[in-house]
């Protein structure tokens, strides 16, 4: 579903992504782990069409895409951002936020679509005419997911969707994302700094370090600890160490 080959991104003189390649199958979930500055979010923004200045090959469902995307592309690929406080327009009601994409694409039955999207993410219909600041962090992230779903996309790009939330809310959102993927056959690309979150949701994992994808593995191998790159080992060790205190 997603094919990335030798992707390179430059910011001025610094190369943020240095030739990354990976592919994600239809209905799979691929996780990208890394620390800040490793280039993981940059990859996601390139795939979403938010950066123009890159080289390499990016294809969705076998169709190569360039820096500029056609309008139809956004029916197929949608994104959920890290910060639910910053990704919703502060002066628009949930209704306005959700109706934007159907209006742009001239879709019919906008009211019905909005209500179905709210139901899909288990938000009360009374939230429809509220403003984002009147909702809790978890509810806001549900709105952001509903906004992505309303396009009826095939691919969801998830940029740290739970790292700004409390752990109890994180569990709810991760369960929601897992359910949606199963019900709708979505393909996920999840970027996170949290190894446990990635291993929970994703079948395959790529580890980013200094702009390169230093290791490609699957979740089971990662859990067992049969990883080769020292950075992956370090991340795994820290994650396991903290887990053990709780048990």
């Amino acid at each position: 579903m997603i094919d990335v080959e030798n992707l390179r991104v430059r910011f001025g003189s610094r190369e943020a992504v240095k030739g990354v390649s990976f592919s994600v199958g239809q209905g799979d979930c691929f996780g990208v782990v890394g620390e800040s500055g490793s280039g993981k979010s940059t990859i996601l923004r390139v795939l979403a069409g938010l950066y123009d200045d890159w080289s390499g090959k990016v294809a969705f469902g076998g169709e190569a895409v360039g820096p500029r995307r056609q309008r139809a592309f956004f029916r197929k690929v949608q994104m959920v951002f890290q910060d639910p406080y910053g990704s919703l327009h502060p002066r628009q009601t949930i209704d306005r936020i959700l109706s934007e994409l159907p209006l742009v694409h001239g879709m019919d039955d906008i009211d019905g679509r909005i209500l179905r999207a709210l139901d899909a993410v288990a938000l009360p219909r009374a939230a429809r005419f509220r403003f984002p600041h009147q909702l809790s962090g978890g509810q806001r992230q549900r709105v952001a997911i509903a906004r992505a779903l309303i396009a009826e996309p095939e691919v969801l790009l998830l940029d740290e969707p739970t790292s700004a939330l409390d752990v109890s809310v994180q569990a709810e959102i991760l369960n929601l994302l897992a359910d949606l993927r199963r019900e709708r056959g979505l393909t996920y690309l999840l970027v996170s700094h949290n190894l446990a979150v990635v291993a929970h949701l994703c079948s395959h994992v790529g580890v980013m370090y200094g702009g390169e994808m230093v290791e490609l593995t699957d979740a089971a191998t990662l859990r067992e600890g049969r990883v080769s790159h020292p950075h992956t080992q370090e991340l795994r060790r820290l994650s396991v160490e903290l887990e053990e205190t709780g048990n």
């Binding site: 979403a48 069409g49 309008r71 994104m79 919703l88 327009h89 502060p90 209704d95 994409l101 403003f131």
Partner: protein, 300 residues
Amino acid sequence: MILSNFRSWALDEAPASRSQATWGSAYRVWLSLRRNPLSMIGLAIILAFVALSLAAPLLAPYDPAAQDLGNRLAASSGAHWFGTDELGRDVLSRLLYGGRVTLGMVVAVVVLVAPIGLGIGCIAGYFGGAVDTALMRLTDIFLAFPRLILALAFVAAMKPGVESAILAIALTAWPPYARLARAETLTVRGSDFIAACRLTGASPWRIILRHVMPLCTPSLIVRVTLDMSSIIITAASLGFLGMGAQPPSPEWGAMIATAKRFIFDQWWVATVPGIAIFLVSLAFNFLGDGLRDVLDPKGR
């Protein structure tokens, strides 16, 4: 009965339709504006002046252009409440009729200036790069000249009159608005919610118009209300130089300008229109302050 029905319908916590929600939020803006005494005073003053100006033909005791040279510069009396001016014209009548010209000019200038400044600023800020450079240098050129001099040049090139004065003031007043709108746009351009708008496939024009501009409007409103008095004064200066409202048409600024010569002996001739300008400017400031607060949904 109808009012209380409307109230409960508009304030419904879970509106059933989009129009109900829109009415509800408009009603909530009104309610919170009503809680702010200063902005209500401002609104009352503005409405009063507008009503008085519109009703000038009914209220004015004299023809504003009727001269009575035998009774020039008369002090306040039962016949002339605010006295008469240097040509013996009734100041009250001129004030009422002058409100039409002055308030009309101010409104026309604002209606012209705010969208131009907002548009140029948002476009420059959103696109950045060469577009930004070109538009901002243009803004700098306009900013580099003193407002009055530039306005004078414009009016001189056209024919003197109220319409030319409006156009000239509008052409010279937009650069600060453009600067302000650009600065606001730059702070939201990189935000995730604008990125999310781009991911709907919306064109840049749609994003600017529907998502960026509404965010820049509140600070623009405040700036506009603060500028009201300086717009009136620029209009007056143009009038004084013979480039604005043409005599005998009454205009508050021009009234002050002509009364300057005898301000120490017959002070009321200049003071009455001065008080009018002061009250209107103050009222606009009060209202603008209140509007900025209530237009932010977080403040409600």
